[in-house]
Symmetry: C2
Subunit: 223 residues, 2 copies
């Protein structure tokens, strides 16, 4: 049974990657820098996207695709933060976003009007890693209360992302998070990863992350 | 593609439920109270299982099946806490445990020697809900830093579990967790759920949970 399942998933992944490439071509044509944000439930995906939009929405137009099992709370949150456009995908039980869901969401987004697009994946440290959505950048969030051992336990997520945001850094004194061990693990798993220590609650580290993201968008399309 | 995938998953789920029933029969024969523990990564599954074992291992023999993508850190942790037996399942990328994985793990466990068996599922709030393992009790852990909105966003998990452990209650002052809203959501989703507020760090609430679990085991097999 497991083998049949794996064959089917592989077949679907090939189809997924083709649609992801089509999505990426559309993002490139309209010069929309697209970021796939992945993390566990409750790590702070929506908060970080909202804070980043607040910091950048005077300089650029930003859209968000929100992936959730159900509900549309997050769409309202990012619109309140200043997003120029937001579309909700309800996966109906699916534990990750797939490229065809993004393709479908793009029917309701005018890419020509956007500079940047966040895709907030479903809260899950495992399955979203397998599904290319056509993004330019994959960002993984880890919050300090989750523990420094998460990269060891979920190595694929922390290997494939170019950026790791270590959120809730303000709580580090109250939880057993070994920062040295965390950096050692990341250095072994993903030596080129950029790590930003941030707190959405206190604002610590957010300007550095925001400036880097802004520069990265320009490096990609204006160089 | 999505439809094919769903058909395949349904087919597998039927097979899964049959194996789960076989597992449950084995647990009943040997009177082993079996608990499927599910949660996001970093909610405190291993810590809670360890603390529960520490509190109960003088009164009963306890085994643990640890489900992880890879690694065996947690198996060592629960053995150090006093578990009489522990078996590691590495799912190799699979985001949840399935009944056949438990069946396989039972080849290495002498159920006749156990009173209680914890199954620590893979850290994931979504997929594990679909897969019956043959357990008697499903427990979901939510930690306060994850936020009070998680039951709204991941309703199936919080609907199917008989017990919800609200962990890291000691951090509630430092995070934006609305306890009233949390209880309102649970009351709507799962009115018969038992909620225990606990902290593995301070020990708060653990004795009440442990006493309840002990009584529940006796009610099941000694009545």
């Amino acid at each position: 049974m497991a083998v049949e399942h794996i064959h089917m998933v592989k077949h679907i992944l090939v189809g997924n990657d083709q649609i992801a490439d089509i999505n990426r071509e559309r993002f490139n044509t309209d010069r929309v820098f697209t970021i796939n944000v992945m993390a566990s439930p409750g790590s702070g995906k929506t908060s970080i996207i909202s804070k980043t939009i607040e910091a950048l929405h005077d300089k650029m137009t930003i859209g968000v695709i929100e992936g959730d099992i159900e509900g549309s709370i997050d769409t309202n949150t990012v619109l309140a933060a200043g997003a120029n456009d937001a579309v909700q995908i309800n996966t109906g039980g699916n534990c990750h976003l797939e490229a065809n869901m993004i393709q479908k969401a793009l029917e309701n987004i005018d890419l020509a009007q956007l500079d940047m697009l966040f895709v907030e994946n479903v809260g899950n440290l495992i399955c979203p890693t397998h599904w290319d959505l056509g993004q330019h950048l994959r960002v993984c969030i880890l919050s300090t209360p989750e523990g420094h051992d998460k990269p060891i336990k979920y190595p694929q997520m922390f290997s494939v992302c170019e950026v790791i945001l270590l959120n809730k850094i303000d709580l580090i004194e109250w939880v057993d998070f070994d920062l040295d061990l965390f950096y050692q693990t990341i250095a072994a798993l993903n030596p080129t990863a950029l790590v930003f220590e941030i707190s959405c609650r206190t604002g610590k580290g957010l300007p550095i992350w925001v400036d880097w993201l802004y520069a990265r968008k320009h490096a990609l399309f204006e160089a």
